[in-house]
Symmetry: C2
């Protein structure tokens, strides 16, 4: 098994499971930095994760202010999380503040930045989005900048076409190095994996076996926050060429993922963490997201236990 | 003709035409403050406008950084634009930065702030959005805060239901005083106009006669940037009870609006301004929006002239 990543990217690539990090809030809705740093360290030390993608959709990134996001990244690094295993989300709707967040991440030695397209205006052209990322690269103007595009059209409302991704990657091969594809559309992920030299992470563990077969280094999955070890094991088995064992282990991983998808995944995972850790602050979400009603949490917890023997 | 606005809101209401303000950019894409302040003053002095709504969709607000937006508002006030006739847009995807922009507008004496719902997460609940605005009001914590909700679901991806608007207005009658309805759905605008005490502006001049008949003080329209005098005249005639004359004048106004809607209205209006004023900087847009190809601009200009005798 060899990955289709050219040598020059090996050091820009995290192989295995990458976890977006749920963002915990105190009761006054400020970021609970103590819980946040503990969570990040736990994901890396015992959660099966090779890397972290703080401030993605799962991390309620767009519900957090710019200064807060920079302070939270600082806190992770200060707490001992290696920036070289982090790809924080930095994409907003405008170039100036996106450049500011991105430069902050690069200046702090992060492996890369995961960047949404500008997502306020809908139905914009590929040329417009190409211009957006080109200008951003100019504005950040840093030799260490590595961009992972972030494709999640069902949430952001603005997708990245295969043509646009190819054009960005071929124009800026040393900068636009990868993409997280959270579309849930395997045909799209497959087409991205066909782009030579581009690092493609599917945004969930559902298609991770086919993805690694086609050259992906792993996946970036929200469920890694609670189920990281099992997902990581599947990815490891793939990388060792143990495909049958991987498929067998993947059954459970797949079932758990699908069950989570029946619930609102961010409130659901936070509620389960709150119960498992005895830490009620994990129940807090920032509006417009709302906490999950307790009967639903108990139903999910029971289903996870009865159907999959799963507890955290 | 009497408006259905209770006395206590009279001073929070702008009667007539309100213009969102196109945001001009220098060639390096910084805000062209000289053109911006001149445009704002022209709209008020000879453009037929009773008020301004800087930094709405038309003003490419979400393509502009937070600090830039505050500096631009400062520049308008410094240039002599009365904050009491301004309702700047201040809505982002997160509470912290939205509160910061909103407080800045209120502190500077603006009549109100026009605030989008948090628009990153889609399909959020009314309860979640109610909580978002409630928390925002708490965070701004200013006796002069007046919020105009901003409903433009086809762009933002997140709408405000009639129930939610009613609930916000009845819970915070002195704060959530109005709404701009840019849905283009007259049934929705009508339902909003039925909410007692709420100031409802349709987001275009197309239904302005019916709207004023039903109690609207006027409208907020992107086309006011170029066609303000004619639109204002229609609104004035309505307020004078000259409905037949208003309907007659509205024919032309309507035709011009519909023609603009066949083009991308923001690039189209900027291009026409650039040609009319001999100021090429007006052609600049921030990515992901792109300038209009010259042949299209000429086609629009010709159609406006031939069909409506319109030039700016």
């Amino acid at each position: 098994m060899s990955l289709n990543i050219p040598h020059r990217y090996e050091d820009a690539m995290l192989k295995g499971l990458i976890s977006p990090v749920l963002t915990p809030f105190n009761d006054d809705l400020t970021i609970a930095t103590d819980l946040y740093t503990a969570m990040a360290k736990r994901l890396l030390s015992e959660g099966g994760c090779a890397g972290l993608a703080p401030f993605g959709t799962t991390g309620e990134a767009l519900s957090v202010g710019i200064d807060e996001r920079m302070a939270a990244l600082d806190a992770l690094i200060k707490a001992g999380v290696d920036p070289k295993v982090m790809i924080p989300g930095t994409g907003l709707t405008n170039l100036v503040d996106t450049a500011k967040l991105t430069r902050h991440a690069v200046d702090h030695g992060c492996l890369g930045a995961m960047i949404l397209p500008a997502f306020y205006f809908k139905g914009v052209s590929d040329d417009g989005l190409f211009s957006y990322y080109s200008r951003l690269i100019e504005m950040v103007n840093h030799p260490d900048l590595r961009i992972y595009l972030y494709h999640i059209p069902q949430v952001s409302g603005v997708g990245l076409s295969i043509d646009l991704v190819r054009r960005l990657h071929s124009t800026f091969p040393d900068v636009v190095v990868g993409i997280k594809d959270s579309s849930g559309d395997w045909e799209n992920t497959k087409a991205l994996l066909d782009i030579k030299g581009l690092i493609t992470y599917p945004g969930a563990e559902l298609p991770v076996i086919e993805a690694v077969e086609a050259g992906a280094p792993g996946c970036i999955s929200a469920t890694a926050n609670l189920n990281g070890q099992r997902i990581a094991e599947v990815i490891d088995l793939c990388h060792q060429g143990e495909w049958d064992k991987a498929r067998e282990k993947h059954q459970l991983v797949r079932g758990i993922r699908l069950l989570f998808q029946d619930y609102a995944p961010i409130p659901a995972q936070k509620a389960l963490l709150a119960r498992a850790l005895g830490e009620p602050r994990w129940n807090n979400l920032r509006p417009p997201l709302m906490a999950m009603p307790e009967d639903k949490v108990i139903a999910l917890e029971t289903a996870l236990k009865n159907e999959f023997g799963f507890s955290i």
